[in-house]
Symmetry: C2
Subunit: 428 residues, 2 copies
Amino acid sequence: MTAPLRVGVAGLGTVGAGVVKLLRENAALIAGRAGRPIAVTAVSARERHRDRGVSLDGLRWHADAKALAAEPEVDVVVEVIGGAEGPARRLVEAAIAAGKPVVTANKALLATHGVEIARLAEAKGVPLAYEAAVAGGIPAIKALREGLAGNRISRVAGILNGTCNYILTEMRLRGLSFEAVLSEAQALGYAEADPSFDVDGVDAAHKLAILAALAFGRPVDLASLHIEGIRRVSALDISLAGEFGYRIKLLGIATRDEHGVSARVHPCMVPLASPIAAVEGVFNAVLAEGDAVGRVMLQGRGAGAGPTASAVVADLIDIARGRGAPVWGADALDDAPAVPMERHVGAYYLRLMVTDRPGVIADVTGILRDERISLESMLQRGRSPEEAVPVVLVTHDCEEAAMRQALARIEALDAVLEPPAVIRIEAL
Amino acid sequence: MTAPLRVGVAGLGTVGAGVVKLLRENAALIAGRAGRPIAVTAVSARERHRDRGVSLDGLRWHADAKALAAEPEVDVVVEVIGGAEGPARRLVEAAIAAGKPVVTANKALLATHGVEIARLAEAKGVPLAYEAAVAGGIPAIKALREGLAGNRISRVAGILNGTCNYILTEMRLRGLSFEAVLSEAQALGYAEADPSFDVDGVDAAHKLAILAALAFGRPVDLASLHIEGIRRVSALDISLAGEFGYRIKLLGIATRDEHGVSARVHPCMVPLASPIAAVEGVFNAVLAEGDAVGRVMLQGRGAGAGPTASAVVADLIDIARGRGAPVWGADALDDAPAVPMERHVGAYYLRLMVTDRPGVIADVTGILRDERISLESMLQRGRSPEEAVPVVLVTHDCEEAAMRQALARIEALDAVLEPPAVIRIEAL
């Protein structure tokens, strides 16, 4: 057996401590699979003397993460600090400059500076691995970059944020509001005190940008991504979705066709019989469609110490074995244009709260007809003259631009009492 | 760009022709991902002049597959002939002996001679890749061998035969018998004229043996595998399963615990809410449970030209990139003992056809009590004195040996009119 691969871990939060622990607990098995031992030799974190459930005895300590890049006892740097800027970015750039392979779980960094960092890594011939950046323990990066490498990928999609999927699942099972489940999740530590990164779809967008770059061999372009979170999903819409045979999921979806690449994160209605509808709670899923393979879906835990450490250690084993791939999967990146959200074509669920009075439905359907949007079904239950009642409309495929025009006019109607709830339908 | 990787394809059935086609259609994309072109230069099949939908112009032709091993224009051999013996085995052994990497889709060969062939390959330092041997286009081998390599795997399971899953799905959706759906599937070309390899569970057992070897780092041991197919699954049991909240799937399941490794293929009842219950029709699924990652499941098409070619080409790209792993994932294989089926512990669904007469249920439940098997629920619907009625019993966990004892005694009762239908319940 050859010399150990010496690892420096930057960031000793849940994930960093999880990596140290996993490398120790499964040391023999990992050495067998890696062909050599993998051992943590140095660490970096802000506070030295916090109890993290792992002993740091015998490890070199650096208060400044960037110092791991220069540490002679370190062959590979694991970056689990997080954040698109600051110490994480400085460490990753320094490690690459020093010729040391980097394993990172940092989706914000890759989604924001991925092209630039990949260029540095490839110029230096240094591996940059990031399985843990997307969908935690699910080997989605490896599946897309290597497992499906013979395919032209037309679509990649997924449930990419466990907090959102947990909230939507609890709302459905217990009939609760978004706010009620969020407060509870915060109290239990499942959601952050400031949840906007998760619930507004930003985290899912970072992961989608990475998946799209890999799937389509095209640089990450966060600015062109359409992002909506789950704050406006109501218990009423979740329940109505069920009646129409759908389940509401926050999905990231990127597609490539002859017009270019479109990428979007928003709540979707997916058919109940669709396998992605069965992915519940904190579980994540990643789905890819390739020209040869058809549809492949992977599911598992998207976050947490164990799953994330599993992904980091898999990357370390690849590095120990000398297995590598270009950062974005191919030697050259593509330059397909971004397709704006206005050009999106799909079916829509609209739920209006209207005053129950003659002529309202005629006004609404007239506007849809003017915009050449045809209806698949409509639901108005019961009658309460002059009171607020929900009306649900499900459309056939139409263009987002037409839908936006129609919505602006519908919202302006006197009898329409609040902004319409709009959820796109995806036949995944 | 470096010199092309030159491929010899042995076997030009659906899969072989699919590989030739995929390498041509996605040539530029594959070259980008592989870092060099991958080109078929030679082929072998029994009949030279059959229309396979791909041109063989300019390719070297060998009537004897084994000759590809000696062909100077071939760097890598793709074996898609099939069969545990004969030309497939001779070719694989000759290629390894000649130092040429082998990509094979041959589960029978690997399940039967995998240990021996792996030894040859490792002695020669020659890559032996077999993504296509299990679950078609799903990158399950890569996920287990590399993506989850940091984990101690405790269980690997899956829907490993698309023909069986298709038959069970159609039986359920249309209320048809096994025989009716099988004949139809044969007429449509979805099932073989001699279907026993599929419907008796042998094909699934081959794949399970490979997954278990990889997951547990332990030699394949087909003889210790418990195998039951789907011939005895009835439309009645499928319908009753639904009433009890289950769906019937043919699963391969291998587990490892302190006693050793158990591996079995048989029809199972899985909870309707379980993600594996949502895998329908010809789709396959592979599930793994690791100590760090928890449960991960992959699903997709398990057979067919496109999905299988996708897996073969992924292996070729790995070889072109120089990415490799020991055949069974680790440098040394384990020698955990096989746990016999008699030691299996789980819950059981029993459906008896009994004469509706006083005392029958008391006799049956008395036998179960004698064997210390406790009941979770029982269903006897309607009453038809002195006629045959179905009685369903669902047990709590018990040992297979006790269940077999009980079944022998139950079957011997006068009022029990046919052998009990027994389906194991799996909380996957």
